[in-house]
Symmetry: D2
Subunit: 382 residues, 4 copies
Amino acid sequence: MKKFLIQSILTLFIINNWAQSQKIRPREMGIEIGLFQTGKWNAITDVYGVKVGHETVITGNNVRTGVTIILPHGENLFENKVMAAIHVTNGFGKALGFTQVEELGTIETPIGLTNTLNIFNVANSIIDYMIMQNPDIRSVNPVVGETNDSGLNDIQGRHVKKNHVIKAIKNAKTGPVIEGSVGAGTGTRAFGYKGGIGTSSRILPKEAGGFTVGVLVQTNFGGSLMINGAPVGRELKKSPFSSNIPYDQDEGSCMIVIATDAPLSNRNLKRMAKRVDHALGSVGAYSPNGSGDYAIIFSTSKPQSSDKKSFTRKEIKNNSMNGLFMATVEATEEAIINSLFMAETVSSKYGKMEELPIDETMKILKKYRALNWNKKLYPWKK
Amino acid sequence: MKKFLIQSILTLFIINNWAQSQKIRPREMGIEIGLFQTGKWNAITDVYGVKVGHETVITGNNVRTGVTIILPHGENLFENKVMAAIHVTNGFGKALGFTQVEELGTIETPIGLTNTLNIFNVANSIIDYMIMQNPDIRSVNPVVGETNDSGLNDIQGRHVKKNHVIKAIKNAKTGPVIEGSVGAGTGTRAFGYKGGIGTSSRILPKEAGGFTVGVLVQTNFGGSLMINGAPVGRELKKSPFSSNIPYDQDEGSCMIVIATDAPLSNRNLKRMAKRVDHALGSVGAYSPNGSGDYAIIFSTSKPQSSDKKSFTRKEIKNNSMNGLFMATVEATEEAIINSLFMAETVSSKYGKMEELPIDETMKILKKYRALNWNKKLYPWKK
Amino acid sequence: MKKFLIQSILTLFIINNWAQSQKIRPREMGIEIGLFQTGKWNAITDVYGVKVGHETVITGNNVRTGVTIILPHGENLFENKVMAAIHVTNGFGKALGFTQVEELGTIETPIGLTNTLNIFNVANSIIDYMIMQNPDIRSVNPVVGETNDSGLNDIQGRHVKKNHVIKAIKNAKTGPVIEGSVGAGTGTRAFGYKGGIGTSSRILPKEAGGFTVGVLVQTNFGGSLMINGAPVGRELKKSPFSSNIPYDQDEGSCMIVIATDAPLSNRNLKRMAKRVDHALGSVGAYSPNGSGDYAIIFSTSKPQSSDKKSFTRKEIKNNSMNGLFMATVEATEEAIINSLFMAETVSSKYGKMEELPIDETMKILKKYRALNWNKKLYPWKK
Amino acid sequence: MKKFLIQSILTLFIINNWAQSQKIRPREMGIEIGLFQTGKWNAITDVYGVKVGHETVITGNNVRTGVTIILPHGENLFENKVMAAIHVTNGFGKALGFTQVEELGTIETPIGLTNTLNIFNVANSIIDYMIMQNPDIRSVNPVVGETNDSGLNDIQGRHVKKNHVIKAIKNAKTGPVIEGSVGAGTGTRAFGYKGGIGTSSRILPKEAGGFTVGVLVQTNFGGSLMINGAPVGRELKKSPFSSNIPYDQDEGSCMIVIATDAPLSNRNLKRMAKRVDHALGSVGAYSPNGSGDYAIIFSTSKPQSSDKKSFTRKEIKNNSMNGLFMATVEATEEAIINSLFMAETVSSKYGKMEELPIDETMKILKKYRALNWNKKLYPWKK
């Protein structure tokens, strides 16, 4: 009884703390990543039709996990599959559905993110949802990614259940996306601090096609954090291979979901997804052995027409891909930074993962002149 | 009540039929595939230490499915991972665990086979088993393959449960392997007939290293069946693209598990796995769009020594791989043929899939002189 | 002087022998591979616009080699690139241009085939040709394949020169294609006999889209020859791993070029190219270690429109690919058989490679009832 | 005559300029990349046995090119092949030999770097060299990379000839490596400035195995240069997508050769090579469409023993790879920076490519506190 009381109070405290938090997104504090402009919400939902839903699962002193759902569009996905591709940076992970996406070039379900051992429950629940929506379905390919939140969560318990998944799908919405220690990011950590969900977007200039690129990440990986070139990880003494962190102990993973409205072939979607590695490099990651780093990309662009046997599609030419490549790097980089700035400290019986110390970080950014880059260097940009 | 009675009788009838069946393996009837000799059991279990377990799930008039487990060895697999690789012939499938096998080069769990929509239940149950065996586990990569048995089975019901998986693991054994409409092969079909589980093995001659190669397949695919060159599919009027079978309707899948005791690098394991495509070609398959055809390969060979940071391993040279390549082709071909000869007719409320008509098939083989090849052509071979 | 005389006589003798030969194509002798109908020429040139050119280089008693050129169309290829993909069955080869075809999805030059060590000369000569045609070119990606003809040819001499390549390109034509010991097939061998160039085509039925698939092969590989299921290699005592052929000595390669007029994405082109492995299996090949087996595929279909930044293309749906997959298997199989039937004995100071004994082979085919399959089994087919 | 005189004077001027230059390597000016220590020469030649040779080809006002050779060791490479792998970041390039390296896992020739259209001449010349050394060779797989120097060089002329290649091989040596506008880097450009050859190395701490990792790059690519986080490209107004550089015009390529003495499987060599993408990201590259970015990696570690059919090798475990991954990122990053600092202005009839303005760059680095990182932040490091 006493134990239950403590757990309840702890839970209340955490939830309360959640509500109170007044985290400010990095860009509002002058951290401008890249040159392109962001979309309205600076989120994956800036790609028209994309929706995001979170279910955070926190109970007692041991459960700190959840599920995040990305809906490529609001229609029946099995009937209206989206063109898709995947890129594996480092395949130490359990991500599901990849061989079929590679082979057929499409995603046909909501995309799920969760913790490592919960991935099969989530996939099974997505099947439940797909059967509800498509009663005659006999084969369907859930795409689910994961990172390992066992530092804060009872991962063996697989606490994300069918009701959480269905709720996350049903509550998914456009507009602003909650970031930080939420949904699949509830128990993750990155660069020695609390990680979580982050998102960002870019709008290409008209001359480059005017397309939107949106990225959502679940950060749970290591390295020596760089923000706009400032060596934050070094200054905060959180660098792998420095004297105080043992070798071979820099584990984690990063799941990256990319959406775009640009009409792209599977081949160019995959090329675009590969550019997340440049973004990982620019934030100071190096994908250590234990880091299962994956990118899932889809395009919301529809075929111009279709008959029984064929589609007619528009498709961006190879040599017009540069803007989309750069937008992918920028949005991925910013989504990662956002996940760190927005994540709040989480503790459980397994330990405590502190949030990034914002004031100290801002001082470091100032010291290294990493703020207001565009204002200073490209005053002609808004 | 009446319905229950009919279901019970049907179930009894099926089970009874099972027990009665006196199927004879093709080789005993003179169907000699290839030149190499088979192992003692002509089964994947001829590779020392490998075990196979089936759980067949048949209830009422709607459930015709199951799970088949392959244990690379009898020890704790998480502690003693086996070198492994995968090959994707046609990735229209949900097979699990592949990116990690590719990245890390190992399998660390029992390998499961089941039906398409049941794959996540089976993976989750394998996690349960792994946790029982390794209480501190936080991340583990189940490798599970599937084919679609919805022609005979209530696939949406996902009737393979944790108890079936655990039982299949615990009951897995060396020695002869039951083939046909059993375990993961209970509801599958191939070449227009009942498919299922088949297995075969080859022993390389001493001069070629003396290694054993074992293959187990779950057949559920189409094409125009060829047995030792005899056009069985054509003679039986079961050929895709012939006048009586519509285009675009030749679906299915083939899961292929290969075991060897040869000490091989991940690179040469993968090269070996790729040779299943030659076997698929030689039995008249062509991997149509809907066929999720995958090969999973592992070696039971252990490192010669290991310290904290490294292994010392023996590894067959590239130019000594030919025997292993050929053995893979031969054993895969024979395992597929075995699955067809051993499978018995299965029916359910969804339909009935007849077994291969053995007498008629033998007549065709005789007509095309496809029997006793080695006796005739290589009389010096035993 | 005397040596020169002998060489000249030998050369004359060979050329003369060439002209005399009255080889008959297998299909005309009742060897019907598969179910689909062939195109007019039963050649890769049945795909509208495709041209083939050979230059055979035979001099003295040591040079038995050549070059074969496939032109995807008659226009400037650099300006009108064709959609393309590649598939590597076994990458023990020097084939050129593959990473760019994979990345950009196009072929922009004539495709060359030649011998292993001559491949760089041929690529350089294709660059010469491309510069002639496109004086401002600064980067261009020649696609060239090779097999090793050193059993009959002075391969170190690299006797295929610029003039041969340019001549093969300029003389390339539509219509019937010369097969056998010609062009890049002059010095190759397969299944223990003289190999060479072979070609075949298939026309899909109207209901399956009516597309044409053409294949051209350069055969130089081993295995135990199967023709329509008849164990020709075994009967002729030419099987690897049989008692009289040592292990580890079954080298060679197979280059396969596939053309189609079907409008396909790079992804589905690659899937189609992968089906050559099924064809290799059905003729009794197993891609031994030394066999560099590659497929190059292109589509002659043009975009429906294009602007500065994008194309609009028609693209066959995944589930309408089956006919194209099967046509690829059938045409590849027949092209390989054609190369063997059409190749004539070639000898040089390095040895002699006998042609397939046609009469004996036909007897074997008759014995195993491998002739006139369609007439017998599908009398309703023309 | 007059033209000849001008050309001669120009040539003399350039060569003279070369000799005069007193470029200082970045590290000596306080630019410390990463945490690990460099080897003695901070060059790929710190890996025991590795040699580098350059031939610079400058004639008249039009030829500004060359060849760079990396010898994995000083013995006969065909007889003593090295374990190797490749990684393709963006395959818009003509790099040679890759399918065989992937398939067989070895490099068996000197590795060449040159310009795009010269690659086949260089490969052919490497064959000449291999035949000289191994008179019985019938098949050999030259590995050659390239970048496009047509901005400064008569690339169509293919001015690198056999004598240059043989000379570069014969003159290859251990010890310090000349960097900048030399060999294959003579005519390249990067980040809006003169690029070229750069090299760097890292020594892992004893606890992490004490291995050496060396990298050599041929830089010819775009992006917005970052050095230790300082936005040098932005400050110098050399950023793609900023107002003054048009979209779709950020072409080039980067060839990266990595050497290590760590005993690694092909699988872990490939994983290590993939980490160059993180390095590309950290210097501000994003691999635009036209950038053919490739990494070639080899290990000089020898098998512990070998018999006719097998090797016995030591092999680092997966979870001891982190140090090697990080060393690859650091050394690649520094090699790129070195190529820029060491490259001198080159001009020709095609244009002029200015070298990086060192003083200005150093001022930017100071402004952004990018100097002497380790001294400041890790004073306990030497």
